[in-house]
Symmetry: C2
Subunit: 448 residues, 2 copies
């Protein structure tokens, strides 16, 4: 068995804690029951998979911008397949399946489970996944989906209508049809007929999907498929695969299944009310406060609020209005002010543009021990690094030398530079020049 974990989303609904580089599923806010530790949604799903006895390899299908976050949070225990451009779930799942078939040499009859990384669920969800895999072996179904027991007639979800047959020993029941998001009246009727929510979890044999993929991209190897990624239609897996399958089964899941994608739904699950440098007078009611800035945040009183501060911005919102953040966050868009990268992390601590267009951007960066920044140069900006902690070495125009805390390195435009950390290495970087964009970079190979 192989697991494909879908990790997408831009995450503006949890602004300012989430941004393009740090989607909601990477926020480390969830309590790991009783341990005092916190984990993110993707970390929780990985932990739950393992705790439920599922030892299958996991391949995360994600966008290039999330690659470093996945690596930082899940480490080398997963494979990562990144989409060259963002499309939809059908192309993303095809790409991951082709990776398994051609790079990991999985057999055509390997059982594949596709699952999203963001529903907040209980152990029964993973038992259902095991049943789906078992059912696939002996039901003759092309596809087995997970049906979520609906708790209200939602117009937000797709529905799965059962055919009415009896369940197999694995708990698989035949599916009659799928219905896309209905209105509330239709939803009520569907539920009365026994329909369930479509949870976006699928089980199938690997070649079932690779054969469909070949209809769009027939290639020699995985690299070519990835290069021709845009030839896949921009369509969901539900439309392109599930609704066209001839024999489909369903396994029911009854239990918690929540999208913690808005401040309102997320805070419902958080027992901790204050994160980071927060002081209160103890009179707040139903107020959740998140402070990722170094400066103190003081809260006196307040009711039914969510307050969050990060290097990207500050929100103060009534909880029942917090869904609207998406509308505004788009207009507040700026460069990400904080990023977790595979080599460490950085935050922007100052940004200023002068009337003549000259800019300065100051960052605090930490490169993890044994990690390195790539060898690179810029054409529009100078950089000054002041090392304030740790030891390592730099390469400046092919000359390598050791550096440590207290040293300052001036890197004029056009000069190639790289840095490697022996111990965790922190420095302040002042970029200045006429055009401070991430794209002003030329990368070189360097053999350390």
């Amino acid at each position: 068995m192989q697991i494909i974990l879908l990790s997408g989303g831009s995450g503006t609904r949890l602004w300012p804690l989430s941004n393009d580089a740090r989607s909601k599923q990477f926020l480390r806010l969830l309590d790991v029951g009783g341990t005092g530790r916190r984990e993110s949604m993707v970390q929780r799903v990985m932990r739950q998979l393992r705790e439920s006895g599922i030892t299958a390899d996991v391949t995360v299908a994600t966008s290039a911008s999330q690659r470093d976050s996945v690596l930082a949070q899940l480490g080398p225990q997963v494979n990562i397949v990144t989409e060259p451009t963002r499309r939809d779930t059908f192309p993303a799942i095809c790409l991951a399946c082709e990776f398994l078939a051609r790079e990991k040499n999985c057999a055509p009859d390997e059982t594949i489970i596709v699952m999203p990384c963001d529903p907040y669920t209980e152990a029964g969800y993973f038992e259902a996944i095991n049943k789906m895999a078992g059912g696939l072996e002996n039901s003759g179904d092309e596809l087995i989906v997970m049906g979520i027991d609906p708790t209200y007639p939602s117009a937000k979800y797709g529905y799965i209508v059962p055919a009415g047959g009896t369940a197999s020993p694995n708990g698989v029941i035949p599916v009659k049809r799928f219905t896309e998001k209905p209105d509330v009246e239709q939803a009520k009727k569907l539920i009365s007929e026994g329909a369930l929510w479509n949870g976006g979890v699928f089980a199938f044999k690997l070649d079932y999907v690779t054969r469909i993929a070949e209809k769009y991209v027939k290639a020699e190897n995985f690299a070519e498929i990835r290069d021709r990624y845009e030839e896949f239609p921009k369509i969901s897996f539900d439309y392109e695969v599930a609704e066209k399958a001839s024999k489909i089964g369903m396994v029911k899941y009854h239990g918690d299944w929540k999208d913690l994608g808005t401040w309102n739904t997320l805070t419902d699950e958080l027992k901790t009310h204050e994160y980071g440098n927060v002081t209160t007078d103890g009179t707040g009611r139903n107020t959740h406060i998140f402070n990722e800035l170094q400066i103190p945040l003081l809260c006196l009183g307040t009711q039914d609020l969510v307050i969050a501060a990060s290097p990207d911005g500050i929100i103060v919102s009534e909880k029942n209005k917090s869904e609207n953040v998406k509308t505004f966050a788009a207009t507040l868009k700026q460069r990400p002010m904080f990023e977790e990268r595979r080599w460490g992390s950085y935050k922007v601590i100052d940004s200023i543009e002068f009337p003549d267009g000259y800019c300065a951007l100051t960052k605090q960066l930490t490169v993890n021990a044994d990690c390195a920044l790539s060898y690179q140069r810029h054409f529009c900006r100078d950089e000054v690094w002041t090392l304030i902690d740790g030891k390592g070495e730099v390469v400046i125009d092919d000359v390598r030398r050791p550096v440590q805390r207290g040293e300052t390195i001036f890197i004029p435009k056009g000069v190639k530079h790289a840095l490697r950390a022996f111990t965790s290495l922190t420095f302040i970087e002042v970029q200045s020049g006429s055009n401070l964009i991430e794209e002003d970079i030329e990368r070189f190979d360097y053999k350390w």
Copy 2:
């Protein structure tokens, strides 16, 4: 006539916009009616003085920490007398009077008006001041005080009980006695007897106070008085002077007289609801938002709140609880993260301390055109300056050279350095070392 404007206060009640270096009276939040410009309390008082036809010289009595703020906001149009240490209103007024007598050579019978800089008042307040000065000339009173028409039986103010005589042509009525803060029941009784609030505005002849001052410090010159400042008793002017005067008059003032020293009272006077980089959904009710940070602040809904963010911190408070900020601000105390200085201003953009005690502090500084940083050296820290705008010159261990945007200057510990700006000059400073305190400084004279 000479005006002594008392400017004190630590300003924790308007945290995080106010701090030790920027007391509430320096916050530029008040609308200058109809002009679109904003002014601070001290700027408003100066403007009102001039608009009411009072052309007398103004001497600001303040603490050393506020000297630069006064200079930055009022400029050279005022004299500044700073207390060597903070004591109380009696010593502060003595010091200012000695300054007028000995440094400004004012005559012993010069009329002195002492007034606080922070009540929010109307034109009538300044008419009353003119009447106090006029009354002093022909009433024979040693002291004339301003009585504020009370609007409620407050237990927060001192009261002035009139003697019951008739008013002079200048509107001066005899005072029977002063009463310090009563309880509410006593206050009701006092008001029924015609008592007024003591507004802390005094008129007297210069030598009336210098003769009292001499009882404590008899000195050759002003410098000696300032050196021996601690010999003055720590006592208020009311106790030491007003309550001991034998013949006292009072001029009544009827009109607005407000202490805008809490978020609640301040925001009552502000027609503007959003200051700085603020976005709202337009559904907020009675919410005032102040954002002095560069990052955006988004507010969705909310009622009866004050929200303020500055480099010192963030507050979100119900308005009726905002008085409590004082209690908490003390515990959140840290170095001021923003200061207006006589040479310009700076803000702290990053601060980090490592487990071994080594620290780094990063600031963005702007030195105004034609201003200079003093010649100095440090023993515990290195500094790195990266110039990002403007032109000027630096002195490094007695060697002077021109500098401009794009240059980086490394100043190891022990090296003397100064900087002068030809045009407004902005730079990023990274301090790093074992002990980053303001006191790690040795200053030298330098002739530019």
